[in-house]
């Protein structure tokens, strides 16, 4: 996979994007401040930033779940006005429906929202791909946290969307499971060629997964820096730490976040 130089026609493009919340007390709160973004087709971009800086807000606007207050936000050249079938969302908690079997959970996107797609084994292939092949008939409470998260990813992939938006998908997992999920996500991404935007609190995860790491400021969230990660793929957890660029980028990100007064 040659490093994407797709700047000609970004798949996701934001210019001077702002989001102001009106809080319960009636005050207005600027959560996202003049964010500019350009994410090319097939890129895997990670976003880090202090807690409460507006990362989730940014992702929700791209997902069409939150409206933006000002600026431009386009998906494949068209302004975003609501959820799109081209976008799959992976939530922080696996967010599975406990009353449905794992297979039904993964098949949910094919059953709702009109334009029903014939399943034709797609769900089973996805489960197989993420090592959940035997668990399709089980219920979410019978799965470990990591397995639930994998099922959540399968569900986001069910409609074969071009874009995967992930909000701290592995935040609740233990370090070991998390590393395994990182490897798995890299593999899925390399196989599918999808565009992925992933929010994380972990600097190492951000560098390991990202073609680029976008560092955001404390609230109101602005883009502090957009750092390219020139480490070849496929990356492995052992080799990446040895790569000279790794330590450099990690230091740079940590410095930026420290200056913002928050470290994770």
């Amino acid at each position: 996979m040659s490093d994407a130089i797709e700047a000609a026609r970004p798949l996701i493009a934001a210019q001077a994007l702002c989001k102001t919340y009106i809080t319960a007390s009636g005050a207005s709160l600027l959560a996202v401040d003049r964010v500019g973004l350009s994410i090319g087709d097939g890129e895997l971009v990670t976003i880090v930033g202090p807690s409460g800086c507006g990362k989730s807000t940014l992702l929700r606007m791209i997902a069409g779940l939150d409206e933006y207050s000002e600026g431009v936000l386009k998906l494949d050249g068209t302004p975003i006005t609501g959820p799109s079938r081209d976008v799959g969302v992976v939530f922080q908690s696996a967010n599975l429906l406990p009353w449905m079997s794992v297979r039904d959970n993964v098949a949910l996107p094919l059953r709702v929202g009109g334009k029903h797609t014939a399943e034709t084994g797609r769900v089973d292939r996805l489960l197989e791909m993420t090592g959940l092949g035997e668990f399709g008939g089980r219920y979410p409470y019978e799965l470990s946290g990591g397995m639930q998260q994998r099922a959540g990813i399968c569900r986001a992939l069910a409609r074969d969307p071009r874009i995967l938006l992930m909000d701290e998908p592995f935040g609740a997992l233990d370090a070991l499971t998390r590393e395994r999920m990182n490897l798995e996500l890299q593999r899925i991404w390399q196989q599918s060629g999808k565009t992925i935007v992933l929010i994380t609190h972990s600097i190492s995860e951000a560098i390991f997964l990202g073609d680029r790491v976008i560092v955001m400021s404390a609230r109101p969230g602005r883009v502090l820096r957009d750092i390219a990660v020139p480490i070849p793929r496929p990356r492995s957890l052992d080799t990446i730490i040895a790569h000279p660029a790794y330590g450099e980028i990690a230091r740079e990100i940590r410095g930026l976040l420290n200056a913002e007064g928050t470290v994770d």
């Binding site: 959820p83 079938r85 969302v89 406990p98 949910l108 996107p109 979410p140 409470y141």
Partner: protein, 264 residues
């Protein structure tokens, strides 16, 4: 979990012992303390009354079967009617703010009114026949379902609603696949109350004057100070209540299967 009290063979042993002690105390009170039989009839007298009501041709007007059927069938129709309307209105209130704003003040006012107090009015409207029994049962069953379904439907986690929104699911799909299953435990808790209330409603209607039913059996026994007969009828109603209650619980365990086997 293994040390949970009131469950397992130990629990039923304790319950059985308790019943024995209670019966012995009852027996002793009548035998040795000479409590008069118009206050507390001897256990044998109650058993005799029970037997004379049970060991008859089911079609005989002397037995419990006809009155019990009359009370039960009317309570059942009232239960279904009340629960159906309660769920319908609860759903409309949860889905449409306008309906909520319109109905909520009345619902709360009626909720805090002791509803059996309306029973005489209903008898005026519906007469002394089955209509009144059904109507009062329905009225009493209606409110717990209304309140519980409304509360349950409104308490869905926002993340699950975001999921459905991100899939462009229709309102009906979201209601059917997410809100209603989420509300199921609430609704069953309501059904558990409603099933007993419906029985209560039918009995109250019968107290106010009816041709047949367990309420009539009780008032007739009371008219001739047949306290043993009253006790026997209460035993029958108690058994029916327990059976209905445990039936609802059994159905709930089957339907809300995800709520009982550990949570995630």
């Amino acid at each position: 979990m293994s040390a949970r009290p009131h469950s397992g063979p130990n629990g039923s042993l304790i319950a059985g012992l308790g019943t024995l002690v209670l019966l012995a105390a009852w027996f002793a009170a009548v035998r040795f303390l000479h409590v008069p039989s118009y206050i507390l009839p001897a256990p044998e007298a109650v058993v005799r009354a029970l037997w004379s009501g049970l060991a008859v041709n089911p079609a005989s007007s002397l037995g419990y079967y006809l009155p019990l059927w009359s009370t039960f069938s009317n309570a059942a129709v009232g239960f279904l009617l009340g629960c159906g309307l309660g769920l319908l209105l609860g759903s409309l209130m949860a889905e449409f703010i306008t309906v909520e704003k319109l109905v909520m003040p009345y619902a709360f006012a009626l909720q805090s009114l002791p509803k059996v107090a309306i029973a005489p009015l209903i008898v005026i409207w519906f007469g002394f026949g089955d209509g009144s029994k059904v109507a009062i049962s329905a009225l009493l069953a209606f409110f717990p379902i209304l309140i519980n379904s409304f509360t349950g439907l409104r308490s869905v986690e926002p993340e699950k609603l975001d999921l459905m929104r991100s899939l462009s699911a229709s309102r009906l799909e979201t209601y059917w696949l997410v809100k209603l299953p989420h509300a199921a435990p609430f609704i069953f808790a309501g059904l558990d109350m409603a099933v007993v209330y419906a029985l209560l409603g039918a009995i109250v209607a019968e107290f106010l004057g009816a041709q047949q039913g367990m309420g009539v059996v009780i008032t007739q026994a009371q008219a001739v100070t047949d306290v043993a007969g009253v006790f026997a009828a209460l035993v029958i109603l108690g058994v029916v209540g327990v059976v209905l209650h445990s039936t609802v619980r059994r159905i709930e365990h089957r339907v809300v299967h995800w709520g009982h086997r550990g949570k995630k």
